[in-house]
């Protein structure tokens, strides 16, 4: 991304009327949102029993991701903090219900009623403290705790996030684990800085022991293994390249002894090289002046 909107302004201010309309009318953004939503629904691994599910769309914005949910035949409830974005959603006559709310204040939904939850490009906003009363750690905790409560047993939540750095991703993941979720990060296109997409895939409830996390997609769309370790390795190498300190000069170097020298000469004789004969002067130090 060219610039990160979290750094510019809080979401309810950044996405004002003009920005909300611009965001929704950009065909490129619409396409990206649709692709990410399809992938999130795929990772959600909903049972294929033909019954529509009731999903929660966190940070639904103007309803782009919710539209994908509707196209797949499910019902959804959308939650967003930007009134302008929600107004655009109303104009577009989206099928889901909309709520104006702050996910950092906790999700005010009854326990155990949602069949799943998705979020596209929203959770990273919680890592920024936009008000003096905001504590990112507490807001993430409130969010994940209330989300865990309102999901039914065995339900999943998939968040597509743009973490600013490793620390931010760790912060989000730790908050989810502490709330009781199981799961991890799935990375699509891990080697491409432009196409790279990170999905936080979380499972709620006891059957998480058997749950399996999908593999991330590679450039050619195939699954690649060990995303996390590979990713860590890449990051480590990158950091090492950038910050490696200049090699310290060894100033107490010990020279090689006569035994080493004799061994080397014998070795070179065996290889057929021309080697001076060993004498009493072999291995002696020359005088200073030479």
């Amino acid at each position: 991304m060219a610039s990160r909107p979290e750094v510019i302004a809080p979401p309810e201010i950044f996405y004002d009327d003009a920005e909300a309309r611009k965001y929704t009318s950009s065909s490129r953004i619409v396409q990206i949102q649709a692709t990410l939503s399809e992938r999130a629904l795929e990772l959600l691994a909903l049972p294929d029993d033909g019954v529509p599910k009731l999903l929660l769309d966190i940070g639904c914005g103007s309803g782009l991701s919710g539209e994908t949910i509707s196209e797949n035949g499910h019902h959804w409830i959308g939650l967003d903090i930007s009134a302008s974005m929600l107004n655009v959603a109303v104009e577009r006559e989206v099928e889901g219900d909309l709520l104006l709310g702050d996910m950092g204040q906790g999700i005010g939904i009854r326990p155990g009623v949602m069949d799943g939850a998705i979020s596209i490009s929203a959770v990273q906003w919680l890592c920024n403290a936009d008000k003096s009363s905001h504590n990112p750690r507490l807001r993430l905790k409130a969010f994940f705790t209330s989300l865990y409560k309102c999901l039914s047993n065995g339900a999943r939540a998939v968040f597509q996030v743009y973490p600013e750095n490793i620390d931010q991703r760790e912060l989000i993941l730790n908050a989810a684990m502490h709330a009781g979720f199981a799961g991890g990060i799935v990375v699509d296109f891990p080697h491409s800085s432009k196409k790279r997409k990170e999905f936080l895939v979380l499972t709620c409830g006891q059957c998480s022991v058997n749950a399996s996390i999908s593999k991330g997609k590679n450039e050619d769309g195939e699954s690649c293994s060990d995303d996390d370790s590979e990713d860590e390795e890449n990051q480590t190498v990158c950091i090492s390249d950038r910050h490696r300190p200049r090699k310290k000069q060894k100033n107490n170097k010990v020279g090689k002894g006569k035994e080493w020298l004799l061994r080397k000469k014998e070795q070179m004789r065996r290889r057929g090289n021309v080697v001076p004969p060993n004498t009493k002067y072999t291995g002696r130090k020359r005088k200073d002046r030479f």
Binding site: L99, G108, S133
Partner: protein, 122 residues
């Protein structure tokens, strides 16, 4: 906002033990036709808090739901139609949702409830 969402919503204010159900004060109610899915209705029937659902639909002006309901009534097409209508077709466009414990009022504008809390309520 449809009643399916209202049946999920609860008050999230600090100190509130049971913030469900929110009382509805309806100023404007709109009806929009939605295609019925019997399987979804049966699944939602198990999740719905029926008492809250009946009270909410009456606050919205729809009074044709029975006070009590059990799963055998789902075999009746007439009941399914009423259930579907109340659950998915009634929309609260303007009004207020009231927290049952604190009396906090959450305004509903253009069908969108404003559930934002003040700093002292978090």
């Amino acid at each position: 906002m449809r009643l399916i969402t209202h049946n999920m919503l609860s008050s999230n204010i600090k100190g509130v033990v049971n913030g469900f159900p929110l009382r509805i004060e309806a100023e404007k109610v709109v009806e929009k036709t939605v295609e019925m899915n019997g399987e979804f209705l049966k699944k939602m029937f198990e999740k719905i808090d029926w008492k809250a659902f009946v009270d909410a639909s009456r606050a919205m002006g729809y009074t044709e739901l029975p006070e009590e309901a059990d799963s055998s009534m789902l075999d009746s097409d007439e009941f399914l139609n009423r259930f579907h209508h109340a659950l998915l077709e009634l929309h609260l466009e303007e009004g207020v949702l009231v927290c049952p414990e604190t009396g906090r009022r959450f305004p509903v504008s253009k069908g969108i409830p404003n559930m934002l809390l003040h700093e002292d309520e978090v």
